[in-house]
Structures are given as structure tokens and as C-alpha cells.
Amino acid sequence: MTQSSFAAALLNPDAATPANLIDPQGRPAPKRFSVYRNNVTSGLIRALEAGFPVIRKLVGPEFFAALALTHLRAHPPRSRIMMLYGDDFPAFLAGFPPVAHLPYLADVARLELAIRHSYHSADAAPIDPAALSVPEDRLLNSRLFLAPSLRLIRSPSPIHAIWQANTNNGPAPQPAAEDVVILRAGFEPAPHLLPPGGAAFLQAILAGRTLAEALAASPDGFDLTAVLALLLSTQSLTGITK
């Protein structure tokens, strides 16, 4: 089939130019074919560069381009929606021996990908904070609904500190496990570091548990008020059962 050999040669730099591709005089046209090969690879590298700017900063632009090229040849996009390209890039980083000495890399990539997904997520109107002003036993038996743009990332690495250090000149990261929630107030998603127990609490809420059940899943000393205040201030609470 024409397009099978064309497509295979696009992604394999060692493949010969398909013999049916010719110049105006009917001669073989390898340089002309390489225009398509370059368009495909440079376009996908640019898409990964735009999607993972912190990873690029961490490994350097030249190494990133080589990393991206290796990835895209092995895993060309499966979706036509390029703004979300890179779903399998974190897993690729996790399994790629040349970056095995940077164990946090895959989770930072997951964070960048989640921020991008949050940016394009559906809108949802926040609830009036007054809706939480009900008797405590009623509140505890309620279920909360969170904005579709909310994303939760748990990591054994200090991914929030790494992200801050590379985007907002934050202080040098120290070794720590960090849980991050991405919240989108208006149209700009931002990662927030969760206090201990915050991720377990949000996971329970996302799974449809009541507030009481979610609290039971959280450790002693978990600061419910702080987490609710964060969700309210970022317009991330979109519903509560009566």
C-alpha cells in the first residue's frame, strides 16, 4: 500500500525513500521526501517542547529535542488533537534508561500534562459559599462536587517545588514526597501543594464519598477548613448534595 510505505519511511530515518516518489523529470526524489520527514518530526518536537517546558528546562533544549525525537518515532500521536499530545510522554520518560538518574522527571511531566488538560477542561459554575453554612451533621453527610478542571497528582518527588523553581524562580527543591492539586480559577490552572492528608481527602471526595467518609480516610490533624477554603477561593467547588 502506498501510504504504509510512505508513513513508515516518515518515522524511520534509515528507511529508503519509496520508489514511486519522483521529481518532475521522473527521477528519485529523496530530498523532496525529506521535506515531509522533517515537517513531521519538527512539528511533533515543537508540540512536545510547547507542552513540557519544565522538562525541557530540566534536561536542556538539545537533549530534550533528542528525547522528543526518540519518543515520537516510537510513539507517534494517536489523537488528532495536538493541544493534548504527550499523554504517553511521562511513561516514556519513566522507562527511558538515559534519564533513569532523574527519577522525578516522569512525575513532573505528569504535572505539566495535567495542567494542560486542566486548561482545556469543561467549565463549571462554582457554588455560593453560603451553601456550606448548614448544620455540621448535615454538612458531614453531604457529597461535594469538584470542578472538571481539577487534577490531582501524587508523587514521591518534590514535583511542586521543582515546578515552582523552574517557572516562578522558587527556592531550590528539597527531597520530599509532594501531593499537588491543580485548580483553575477562571481560565488559568495553577498547581497547589496539598497539606498531609489532602490528597486522600480529595480522592475520597472525587470517588463520591460523603464529607464524613472522606474525613475518616484522612489522617489526624488534617486541616479540613484550609482545604475547603482553597477549593472555594479557586471556584473549584461546583456542587453539594442537599
Binding site: 519522483i22 521522473g26 530530498k31
Partner: protein, 282 residues
């Protein structure tokens, strides 16, 4: 508010919409009279892209230009992608929908480029079947864009204009004439660009594209132009545009600048040049 003027593209210059130009466009878009978006950039669930688009659609006729349908692909169209396109067209009600005579997916992989196909009786049938499928699903007539080409296929049986003319006759679709692509292909294939325009079914053209290209050297030292959408429109392309408009009359004309996107005044100046040419003929 219902506004019939937004249901068709006016015979004015338009530009490919870039988010960095949002404020400039709302402040003063003149001489730009309509906007084109890439369909795939508005297939998310929400957020700023869709909010901006809803806002712009209240003020401007919008052209939806797809880059991912792979109409020239050997395999069937991706029904999921077509459904996403239908969702977008159903709520946006754009003035126009267009796609490319090209393929971009194979065996489930999306190659993110507009790849060429040979022009044969078999590929003609496949492309027409795909266009029927698109037009039936969307419930609207689409425009098909001529590609820029860098090489030829040994098995090609007919020239591009013959192929496009046959597609319009069989499917009833309209055409999007990319004048820069005609020029790029004519240099690369050593054909006559003016003759291409003279043979083209301009009655079927619902939109024109103008854009920039890069210059390179190909096999055997022959010039090779590369469609880049990343530079100003060159004088020979403007001349070919004048020739096209003189022959076919004024058409909605897009300034297409997708890479190394300039500040708004640079785009507006290109649009003004197109507007002057359109006014001379009107």
C-alpha cells in the same frame, strides 16, 4: 443576536485567529472582516479557547478549517473525530467548513502533517466517498483545499485540477484555493501557475488562502519551495492572486500565518494589501 452576515464569509480579507491577537481584534479588526480557526484547537471541553471563540463568533463570521480529518487517507474516516467536528459546527454554526486534499493518519498514528496522494481513479473514488461522508455527517457543503506539493507520484493518472474538478462534480463540494500552494507546487513541479489558475473551476471557490513559504534547494540542484505559513506573502504570489481575482471575481481571502506569528499590525497590513486588490475588482 441573529445576524445573517455571519452565516457566510464576506468578500473581504480574513486572518487565521491566534489568541495573542484577541484584544487587538476586539479593539479594531479593520480591514479584517472574518476569522478562521483550526477545528482541532477548539475540541477541548471548555476554558479560555472556547470562551474566546464564543465571544469572537458574536462579532465575526468564522471559518472552521480542519487539519486532522485525513480525507485523502486510504482507510475510513475516524468517526469519533468527525463527531467532534460535528459538535463544534453544531454549536458554532460557522460560515464555512474546509479541509485538505491530503492525508495525515495511518494505522491509528496521527502524523500531524498534510501528506500527498497520487491522483488516480482509485484515489478519486476514496476521496469522494470521504467527502460524501463528511458532508452527510455535518449536514453542510464543505470546501476542499488544494495542497502544496514537493514531489510527484509515478502512478498519478491525471493532473491536480482535473482531479479537483472531478471531486466537485461528484460530491458537490466547493473548493478552497490556496494561491501560495499553487505557486509553491508550480515551482516544485515545474508547471505554469497561471495556467493552473486558468484551468481551475473558480466558480466552485468559496475561499482563497494566501501565505508565506520558505526557499530551499532540492534534488539535482532544483529550487524547492516549502509551504511554511511563517513569513510574508511574496510578490509573485500577490501577482498570482491578482490574476485569480481578475478572472474569478472577489472571494473571501485569508492571510494564513501560523508559525513565527507576527504582531497584529503586520497581519493587518497584509490584509490591507488583499483588501486593496479586492476593491479594485469589485
Amino acid at each position: 443576536m441573529f445576524d445573517a452576515a455571519r452565516l457566510t464569509l464576506p468578500n473581504l480579507p480574513g486572518v487565521g485567529y491566534k489568541p495573542q491577537h484577541f484584544s487587538a481584534i476586539l479593539a479594531n479588526a479593520a480591514p479584517v472582516g472574518w476569522l478562521e480557526i483550526h477545528a482541532e484547537n477548539y475540541m477541548g471541553g471548555g476554558g479560555r479557547p472556547l470562551a474566546q471563540l464564543r465571544h469572537l463568533a458574536e462579532r465575526f463570521a468564522i471559518s472552521v478549517h480542519g487539519v486532522g480529518l485525513s480525507i485523502g487517507g486510504e482507510g475510513p474516516l475516524d468517526q469519533d473525530h468527525l463527531n467532534r467536528l460535528k459538535t463544534l459546527c453544531d454549536w458554532l454554526q460557522p460560515a464555512s467548513f474546509s479541509e485538505h486534499l491530503a492525508w495525515s493518519t495511518h494505522d491509528g498514528a496521527f502524523l500531524n502533517d498534510l501528506l500527498p496522494l497520487p491522483y488516480t481513479a482509485d484515489t478519486l473514488t476514496t476521496v469522494c466517498d470521504h467527502i460524501d461522508h463528511v458532508q452527510t455527517t455535518l449536514g453542510r457543503r464543505m470546501l476542499l483545499e488544494n495542497p502544496s506539493s514537493y514531489l510527484a507520484f509515478a502512478e498519478t493518472e491525471m493532473d491536480e485540477v482535473t482531479f479537483l474538478r472531478a471531486i466537485t462534480r461528484r460530491t458537490g463540494c466547493g473548493l478552497l484555493l490556496d494561491v501560495n500552494n499553487v505557486y509553491v507546487s508550480s515551482i516544485n513541479q515545474q508547471t505554469d501557475a497561471n495556467a493552473y489558475i486558468d484551468a481551475f473551476p473558480l466558480d466552485a471557490v468559496g475561499e482563497i488562502h494566501l501565505g508565506g513559504h520558505d526557499e530551499d534547494i532540492g534534488d539535482h540542484g532544483l529550487p524547492l519551495l516549502i509551504d511554511s505559513h511563517g513569513a510574508a506573502i511574496v510578490n509573485p504570489v500577490w501577482a498570482l492572486y491578482v490574476h485569480t481575482i481578475a478572472r474569478g471575481g472577489p472571494k473571501p481571502t485569508l492571510i494564513e500565518w501560523d508559525n513565527d506569528v507576527p504582531d497584529w499590525p503586520v497581519l493587518a497590513a497584509e490584509a490591507a494589501r488583499a483588501a486593496a486588490i479586492l476593491e479594485q475588482v469589485a
